[in-house]
């Protein structure tokens, strides 16, 4: 039994992220965590649905939301999901450089999404006076979308930390599970966003 975690082309397992018990544990642990996150976001969505019409005389969702910006944000995040798929594809082919490249693109797309979200929030606050405090609708909106944005921020920090930490040493059985759990988390953020743009923005526009 070797205690070495390095990954050589000749001993490359098919799924380096699940080749060790540690890797398998991380993989399952993250999936189970996502199961819990489902309820976490459901609580926020439920609160939003209950309070979305409580505008307290302030602007309503139909007046506030613009579809163009949300569409661009959606495309950015969806694409970042694809780029992280590419990163995992190169991980399975043991091509570390290309993996890093695609992860970098993923992070950049995430930062782009976050920038647009910050622009959107500041637009609502300065143009409409629509804040976290102005109505129950405002509170619920910022809580839901903000929690998602917080998850995006955490994901970006996570991947940058992983990329920097492993830049010099390449892929091995110790860090492959870490990259894989990150990519699962990132896809899940996209899953949540699909419901955010559907329930909050599109349905909010319909009324």
């Amino acid at each position: 039994m070797s205690h070495d975690h390095s990954l050589y082309p000749e001993t490359m397992p098919q799924n380096p992220e699940k080749a060790t018990l540690e890797g398998k544990n991380k993989f399952l642990g993250l999936w189970f965590f996502l199961g819990g996150e489902t309820v976490l976001f459901a609580s926020l969505f439920g609160t939003y649905l209950a309070l979305k019409d409580s505008t307290a005389g302030g602007p309503s969702s139909e007046e506030l939301f613009g579809l163009e910006l949300v569409f661009i944000m959606t495309v950015l995040l969806l694409t970042s999901s694809l780029t992280s798929v590419y990163a995992m594809y190169h991980m399975r082919n043991n091509d570390f450089k290309k993996m890093q490249l695609w992860l970098g693109i993923t992070a950049l797309l995430g930062i782009g999404f976050l920038g647009l979200e910050i622009y959107e929030f500041s637009h609502y606050i300065t143009e409409y006076g629509f804040t976290f405090r102005s109505s129950a609708f405002g509170s619920a909106f910022y809580a839901l979308v903000g929690f998602h944005g917080g998850h995006v921020t955490f994901g970006i920090c996570w991947i940058i930390a992983l990329m920097i930490r492993n830049a010099r040493r390449g892929l091995n059985l110790y860090n492959a599970p870490k990259f894989n759990t990150y990519s699962l988390y990132w896809h899940y953020i996209d899953v949540i966003w699909v419901f955010v743009f559907t329930v909050v923005y599109l349905m909010g526009k319909v009324g």
């Binding site: 399952l28 189970f32 976490l40 609160t47 409580s54 109505s135 509170s139 809580a143």
Partner: protein
């Protein structure tokens, strides 16, 4: 490593060992010590409540303090006593029962404990700072938003931190059961306690996020001026109730299911018989967990959800009696025809059956939506949930402590004192709570500070308080028993109860820190019993003697939790003084820094070399 051996190293080394440990058996000790401490605290609060109610119009404590007492008694007992002690028992036994050397995430295990501990300390600091929370353990938003001072803020911050720790524990146990089972230990060969741990962890995973969000909403409203519960800005306080009970009802099953599993193990061990209806027991546990998610609104019948919603939830509630009944009958059938041995552990298990069944029956009464309008918010409800939580959870905890004390500390608790504890507690428990059913039916509302003379409530309350004294006496005897056993108790053999499951198949009591030199091969349900009756009397190894991988200890979980603790104080006090933002951001930054260190520093663990084992054996 036995306790005696560690003490020789000196107190500093002993303390450092526990502060940095990732060993599931030591984390179990920590959980039991922490949970035990808060259990005593909650017990003292309970006695103070009962003394206040010993006679009509008593003025033992003020009304405000009384509100703080009832709030902290409930919160402490549920979140800081029962849950951690259960997590402690799970940590102590579950990995051994599946033949594993540790849990899947030893670091997270330690982090979960320290988050709980610091959360509990933060919550209880409120006594010394601004007064404790006083909006009830349910902290309904309409009341909590109006509560002056910082009491409720402490509730929010303390539970948020402790809750995060519990969630980690849940995920950890889930993964452990899925990936770490020893060869041959299939799902349907797992002991019932392991099954219960697994299913409870699923409940934790799906219930706690709702609490997390709820606490966030209350925090935003109280500390940052949002409007979730502010009716004038369109908020709705019912949201709190829904989210609280979407968490809260599964929570009561989190409190009882592990002990259902434990009782199953205890009944079969001390009846020297295979558990009756093993498969039915497993599926009944799953069914209870499943139904447990669909009944939360039975806490809200009087809110006015309408007859349709009330009926649906009433039917679902009563349905839970079916799987629970299956369990009760299976336990009875397990004992039937067995050679039953009655010792302290078995006494608690035997006492549990009638006590819990009474609680279950009043539960069905309360589940009838129409009748509930009469019982709601009276002492009938108080009696009901104490019958299930004390008669189920606390009895189970005592049972588990007596049963697993050798596993935890290598000694058997004194039997005589154990039996004295049981009988005084059992009598005291029924004295305290049985009469409360009738107090409730006569109209005594819960949470009231005083009651008037000559309304038929005087004698009942007096009896109830006397019962509380009996229970206090029992707990004191138990504490003396612990000290007595630690000082004078004899060393227990590895298998003191003629056990059936793998936790008794290690080489010593308590097990060595690596648990098993060679992972055992499981050939069926009750693997050790099979080997005793059909094999060589001990487990066959499933692997050759080899190097054993062990995780490294770490101080980071303690520091991380400390960071969140400081940040929690910052959150609470930034409303008064902007300088507290330093604590808020500083604490967060410190915790984040610790996380980055954890992430960046490789931790491959270490190996116990095969040669060391061979040397040891010589």
């Amino acid at each position: 490593m036995s306790l005696a051996a560690t003490q020789k190293k000196g107190f500093g080394a002993f303390l450092w060992d526990y502060l940095t440990t990732v060993d599931h058996k030591k984390i179990a000790h920590l959980y039991l010590a922490g949970g035990g401490f808060f259990f005593l605290l909650g017990g003292i609060e309970a006695v103070i409540i009962r003394i206040q109610l010993i006679k009509p119009e008593n003025d033992f404590i003020s009304a405000g303090l009384y509100n703080e007492m009832i709030t902290m008694h409930g919160t402490t007992m549920i979140f800081l006593a029962a849950m951690p002690i259960l997590l402690g028992l799970m940590n102590a036994a579950m990995p051994l029962q599946i033949g594993a050397r540790d849990v899947a995430f030893p670091f997270l295990n330690s982090l979960g404990f320290w988050l709980f501990m610091f959360g509990g300390i933060l919550l209880n600091l409120s006594w010394f700072l601004d007064g404790a929370p006083d909006a009830g353990w349910t902290s309904y938003a309409a009341l909590a938003m109006d509560s002056p001072g910082h009491g409720v803020d402490f509730y929010v911050a303390g539970l948020q931190i402790a809750g995060a720790g519990t969630l980690m524990g849940g995920i950890n146990f889930l993964v452990t059961v899925v990936t770490m089972r020893a060869p041959g230990m299939t799902y349907m060969r797992m002991p019932l306690f392991t099954w219960a741990t697994f299913i409870t962890s699923v409940l934790i995973l799906f219930a706690f996020p709702a609490l997390t969000i709820n606490l966030f909403l209350l925090m935003f409203d109280r500390m940052f001026g949002t409007a979730f519960f502010d009716v004038s800005l369109g908020g709705n306080t019912i949201i709190w109730q829904h989210l609280f009970w979407i968490f809260g009802h599964p929570e009561v099953y989190i409190l009882i299911l592990p002990l259902f599993g434990l009782f199953s193990d205890v009944f079969s061990t001390f009846s020297r018989k295979r558990l009756f209806g093993y498969t039915a027991m497993v599926f009944a546990t799953m069914l209870i967990a499943f139904l447990g998610f669909m009944v939360w609104a039975h806490h809200m019948f009087t809110v006015g959800l309408g007859p349709v919603a009330n009926s649906i939830f009433a039917v679902a509630t009563m349905a839970i009696a079916v799987p629970t009944g299956i369990k009760i009958f299976n336990w009875l059938a397990t004992m039937w025809g067995g050679s039953v041995k009655i010792n302290a552990a078995m006494l608690w298990a035997l006492g549990f059956i009638p006590s819990f069944t009474i609680g279950g029956m009043t539960g069905v009464m309360l589940g009838s939506a129409v009748a509930d309008f009469q019982y709601h918010d009276t002492y009938f409800v108080v009696a009901h949930f104490h019958y299930v939580i004390v008669g189920g959870t606390v009895f189970g905890i005592f049972c588990g402590l007596h049963y697993w004390w050798p596993l935890l500390f290598g000694k058997i608790l004194n039997e005589t004192m154990g039996k004295l504890t049981f009988w005084t507690f059992f009598i005291g428990f029924h004295l305290t709570f049985f009469i409360q059913h009738f107090l409730g039916l006569m109209g005594m509302p819960r949470r009231y500070w005083v009651f008037l003379e000559n309304q038929g409530l005087d004698l009942g309350n007096l009896i109830s308080t006397i019962g509380a004294f009996f229970m206090s006496f029992a707990v004191i005897v138990f504490l003396i028993n612990i000290v007595h056993t630690a000082v004078k108790g004899e060393k227990a053999p590895a298998d003191p109860w003629d056990g059936r499951t793998l936790e008794w198949a290690t080489e010593s009591s308590p097990p060595p820190y690596y648990n098993f030199k060679q992972l055992p091969l499981t050939r069926g349900l009750d693997p050790l019993w099979i080997e005793k009756t059909e094999g060589k009397g001990h487990m066959t190894p499933a692997e050759p003697l080899g190097d054993v991988h062990m995780p490294n200890g770490s101080f980071l979980p303690f520091l991380m939790s400390l960071g969140f603790f400081v940040a929690g104080l910052g959150f609470i006090y930034q409303t008064d003084e902007k300088l507290w933002y330093i604590a808020l951001y500083g604490g967060m930054a410190f915790a984040l820094l610790m996380m980055i260190i954890r992430s960046v520093k490789d931790d491959h663990g270490y190996y116990i070399k095969k040669e060391e084992f061979e040397r040891e054996a010589e």
